[in-house]
């Protein structure tokens, strides 16, 4: 493996937020906020330029750290999938940061406040960890990134220090640790067996031995615990529902996608030699159950943020349908594209919905759905965002959610795997039910008392994010070719 021109950009993409963290520590207080906001255009430009280079060359962009090629050294690698995810992160993290300015501003007359400093530093840490996850080409390196992601995400959950948020954060931390241990065990087994942790080298060498299967099972289970795939969603609803809105948006939109992305890397890049039918069926079954179970529970939640959190449980389920669909001999490319569009559509729509839920809770002083009657007239933009986000969750056009379902269903048809159409369509119907629960009372006649007028800029940030989720419906053919760049053929050769 050799470095490609422009590969150094990959290092910058990871190091920029890291430098931001160090500077924030050094300068403290108010500077942390300014540094995070200043990083936004730089991060977006870097991600965009990397995507441009990948698209232009049609091949993954590689950088070998310190000039030592694997297996001695470690490499960073950007393919179509990672570049796409980086751009998504570079849009959502700054949006959350911009939204959070009012809540996490350092108060006047104080040099530094605990909450503000923690928030801004952890937000940058999440960004750095995500970029490393998307770019990392070494399984141990990715373990470090995964840990960084968890340790940056947990403090965001309990940043306001209420007892229930502490309990939620602790739950999250402990369960994620189980996941980490499981993943690390698997990594150790692979290292013992093959003497390298480089994804490309492992992908070439690995054969279906009991050792590899054991490693695969451990690593997968660990990643599922961090992704909160049903029935491992023990920590997600309380954590995502209790965190501040800006944090929830990043946690639900991006953080769970980090460990999902690694699960994809593991099965499609590291283990393409394993016959994938049986494990893919297991992952698909869990995903299908998640889509139905999460949606049913979302239907029953009394509070908007809990509803949106359970909807995340359901939407994570859809992501795992990519395993049976993309590994099938026919329609694999459709399944892969569908899975990625679902990742993106959910990331943007869900981030927008959590931000809107935050606006709404501040404006009304509560987020009890039973008391929403007439709220849409008081907060039209916020409910427009919730409605459009709901459109994407339900999978109705024009939205990324529809595009994802459309691709996935066609993959089901092409590969003859009808069973996966049940959660795809059934989950959409149930999503229709919970979106109806939010919107129908809000649009009905009625008067709500608005405690504080929402800031227009915050409402517009959320609307902008949901706009991206809708724009995915108009993605040109080239975009689907782009996310296939660098995708190996899995499960014994798929198209």
């Amino acid at each position: 493996m050799t470095a490609s021109p422009g590969g150094a950009l990959l290092v910058f993409a990871v190091l920029t937020p890291v430098a931001g963290i160090l500077l924030s520590f050094a300068l403290g207080g108010r500077a942390a906020e300014r540094i995070t906001l200043a990083l936004a255009p730089i991060g977006l430009a870097l991600a965009g330029f990397i995507a441009f280079l990948v698209a232009r060359s049609g091949a993954p962009l590689v950088y070998v750290i310190g000039g030592l090629p694997p297996p001695l050294g470690i490499a960073l690698r950007a393919d179509g999938a990672s570049a796409t995810m980086m751009v998504a992160a570079a849009l959502i993290v700054p949006a959350a940061a911009f939204y959070a300015r009012a809540k996490f501003a350092t108060p006047d007359g104080v040099a530094e406040s605990r909450g503000a400093l923690t928030f801004w530093i952890m937000l940058q840490a999440i960004w750095a960890a995500l970029n490393l996850i998307f770019l990392g080409a070494d399984l141990f390196n990715l373990y470090v990134a995964l840990e960084l992601l968890t340790f940056a995400a947990v403090p965001l959950v309990c940043i306001d220090g209420r007892p229930e948020t502490l309990a939620a954060a602790l739950r999250y931390l402990l369960f994620a640790l189980f996941g980490s241990i499981s993943y690390l065990l698997g990594v150790a087994l692979l290292y013992g067996g093959y003497g390298t942790l480089d994804i490309v080298l492992l992908g070439e060498r690995i054969a279906a031995t009991p050792l590899v299967w054991t490693a695969a099972a451990l690593m997968t289970a660990g990643l599922l615990a961090k992704t909160a795939l049903f029935p491992l969603h023990i920590w997600l609803p309380p954590a995502h529902a209790n965190a501040p809105a800006a944090a929830s948006a990043v946690l639900s939109g991006l953080v769970v996608k980090g460990s999902f992305f690694l699960t994809l890397r593991l099965w499609f890049y590291v283990l393409p030699a394993l016959p994938m039918a049986a494990p893919a069926a297991i992952l698909g079954t869990l995903g299908g159950c998640a889509a139905l179970f999460g949606s049913i529970l979302a239907l029953r939640q009394p509070r908007l943020k809990l509803l949106v959190a359970y909807s995340t449980v359901a939407q994570i389920g859809y992501l795992f349908l990519v395993f049976p669909l993309a590994s099938a001999p026919a329609g694999g490319a459709l399944g892969w594209s569908g899975g990625f569009v679902q990742v993106l559509a959910h990331a943007f729509a869900k981030a927008a919905m959590f931000l809107s839920a935050g606006v709404l809770a501040e404006a009304l002083g509560h987020d009890r759905i039973a008391h929403f009657s007439g709220a849409a007239r008081a907060l039209p933009l916020t409910f427009l965002t919730l409605g459009l986000g709901g459109l994407s969750l339900m999978g109705l056009p024009p939205s990324g959610g529809f595009e994802a379902k459309w691709l996935m269903l066609r993959a089901c048809a092409a590969s003859g795997q009808w069973i996966w159409a049940v959660p795809i369509l059934g989950g959409g119907l149930l999503a229709g039910g919970y979106v109806y629960r939010i919107l129908a009372p809000a649009l009905a006649d009625g008067v709500v008392e608005v405690k504080a007028r929402p800031q227009l800029s915050r409402e517009l940030v959320a609307l902008g994010l949901v706009g991206v989720a809708l724009a995915l419906a108009f993605a040109p053919e080239g975009f689907f070719e782009f996310i296939q760049i660098g995708r190996p053929l899995a499960g014994g050769g798929a198209s």
Partner: protein, 534 residues
């Protein structure tokens, strides 16, 4: 010229919609929106003859062909009249206005959608936003009607998405409607597609057993809304069947099954309609029955591999579009006073649906003649004409008895009530301008063929009045659905308990362990089988 108008059919209402998002422009945009369907009307009129026109861009494709053009022009006309009247004096609020525009875009767009994705989008637009036209209310009956309506609309969307995915899977070369339909007869999924298409569009058309939402919907809707939904909205289902049934390919069994379903719906609608007392409900059941007739004719067309059935049924549906909308306006216009000439006009309008000679209905009946040409279909079609005449006489007597819905007069814009004679005459006479050979309907035997079933039906209805029949609640089978739904909802707490249990530490730990073991088992089993790997 045609292609510009075709794009403008959607672009014009979209522009009005966009203008609604600027607060200063909103009142004017809503007030002038009756202009928005004008390009659609023009495109429809120009597209009535000649070769189909296609336009595509941004991943969407539009296509205008004669059957679509006919329905497009009549729909556009209806939307123009209804919008102009509604905003002239009622000036509904913005949320209603936006829903109205969205429904309009969908309603006009489904007739010109050229590929699967465009059709799906526009079909969703004509279905879902219509909720906002009658259900934004705290009134429990309206809320119930809205919830039931949305449930059927969403279920229909899900069924159609499955159908469209199968259609696309059968046609690798592209997702244009013409392409997928050309590939369908050879597709392995032919049977499944047919079932899903009939179920999906059947939900919109109110075919049995999916008919219950319609009476609830029209009862809850104010008269102008009921007029556009029953006139233009339901035709989205008809155009769906026209587009997605492989009418040229011979599929005898499937076609006959659809014909039977259609006739069952036709007579079911008549029978339940005759027990109704509210004018709006009676009209809803008449719509159900008429949609059944269309489904039956299309089924017979499918069985006979008759691709001409599409054009014939488009005409039948276009006539129903005008007449049914005009009948809803009639309820409002005659609620206050009922001069004799108005009653005569209303009677003619009502019986047009049964095929009264000299009305547009006579032409519609003639258009369906090719499908109902002989044997049992012919007898059943005649019987359904008699039944329609009975039902419409029943409607007329309820109208005259004056206990129409209390709000009928206030719901109807005064301008529409004043112009009602023109609306009614238009609905009776306009179809004559669009029929292929109207002279046929004026021949003596055609007049007689049209007259005797109507006369029989009217006579039977007068006998029926003297019988006292128990009233079936509006929505009939919907009561069963609601009971089933309530039973499902009762499972909710069980799911909550299951979730609470799964989210305990021991359970989560066991789950994690089980996942590891399941993956291991999967791997070791494969290893035991010595599956060759690459």
């Amino acid at each position: 010229m045609k292609d510009v108008l075709l794009v403008a059919t959607l672009a014009a209402p979209l522009a009005f919609l966009a203008a609604c998002f600027v607060r200063a422009w909103r009142p004017r945009a809503l007030g002038l929106q009756f202009l928005a369907p004008a390009p659609g009307l023009a495109a429809g009129l120009l597209g009535l003859s000649g070769t189909p026109v296609s336009v595509s861009g941004l991943g969407f494709a539009l296509r205008l062909d004669p059957p679509g053009a006919l329905l497009l022009s009549f729909s556009a006309l209806l939307w123009i009249v209804a919008s102009a009247a509604l905003w002239r004096e009622k000036a509904p609020d913005a949320r209603f206005g936006v829903c109205w525009l969205l429904t309009m875009i969908g309603s006009l767009g489904v007739f010109v959608a050229g590929d699967l994705v465009s059709f799906y989008l526009l079909y969703a637009l004509v279905s879902l936003p219509a909720y906002g036209l009658f259900a934004f209310s705290d009134d429990p009956e309206k809320k119930r009607a809205g919830a039931v309506y949305l449930a059927f609309a969403l279920a229909g969307e899900a069924v159609l998405l499955a159908a469209f995915a199968l259609l696309a899977a059968g046609a690798p070369q592209g997702v244009g409607i013409a392409e997928v339909m050309a590939a369908l007869p050879a597709s392995p999924y032919r049977g499944a597609v047919l079932v899903l298409v009939v179920a999906g569009f059947g939900m919109k058309m109110g075919l049995v057993p999916f008919n219950g939402w319609m009476p609830l919907n029209y009862r809850a809707a104010p008269i102008p809304v009921a007029a556009v939904l029953s006139g233009a909205g339901v035709k989205a289902g008809v155009i769906g069947l026209l587009r997605f049934l492989p009418l040229g390919a011979s599929m005898a069994e499937a076609g006959e099954a659809l014909a039977i379903l259609g006739f069952v719906t036709a007579f079911y609608g008549l029978a339940v309609g005759l027990t109704q007392r509210e004018s709006k409900s009676i009209l809803a059941y008449s719509s159900i029955s008429q949609m059944g007739v269309i489904a039956a004719a299309l089924g017979l067309g499918l069985a006979a591999a008759d691709s001409g059935a599409a054009g014939d049924m488009a005409f039948y549906a276009a006539n129903h579009l005008l007449v049914k909308a005009a009948l809803f306006v009639t309820i409002g216009a005659l609620a206050a006073r009922q001069p004799l000439w108005a009653l005569a006009l209303a009677g003619a309008l009502a019986l047009s649906l049964a095929g009264l000679p000299l009305t547009g209905g006579a032409l519609a009946k003639l258009a369906s003649k090719a499908q109902f040409d002989a044997g049992w279909p012919k007898n059943l079609a005649t019987l359904s004409s008699i039944g329609s005449a009975m039902l419409m006489t029943h409607f007329f007597t309820r109208l005259v008895s004056g206990d129409a819905a209390k709000d009928a007069a206030t719901e109807t814009p005064a301008a529409l009530a004043r112009l009602w004679p023109a609306v009614a005459l238009g609905a009776l006479l306009l179809p004559w301008l669009f029929a292929d050979n109207p002279g046929e309907a004026l021949k003596l035997d055609a007049l007689w063929d049209g007259l005797w079933p109507v006369a029989t039906g009217v006579a039977l209805a007068l006998v029926w009045r003297r019988l006292s029949v128990p009233q079936i609640p509006a929505g009939d089978s919907i009561v069963l659905y609601e009971r089933g739904f309530a039973r499902l909802m009762a499972l909710g707490p069980a799911f909550e308990r299951a979730d609470a249990n799964l989210r305990q530490w021991p359970a989560a730990g066991v789950s994690l362990l089980l996942i590891v073991l399941a993956l291991l088992a999967a791997g070791l089993e494969q290893a035991a089988e010595k599956v060759p790997f690459r």
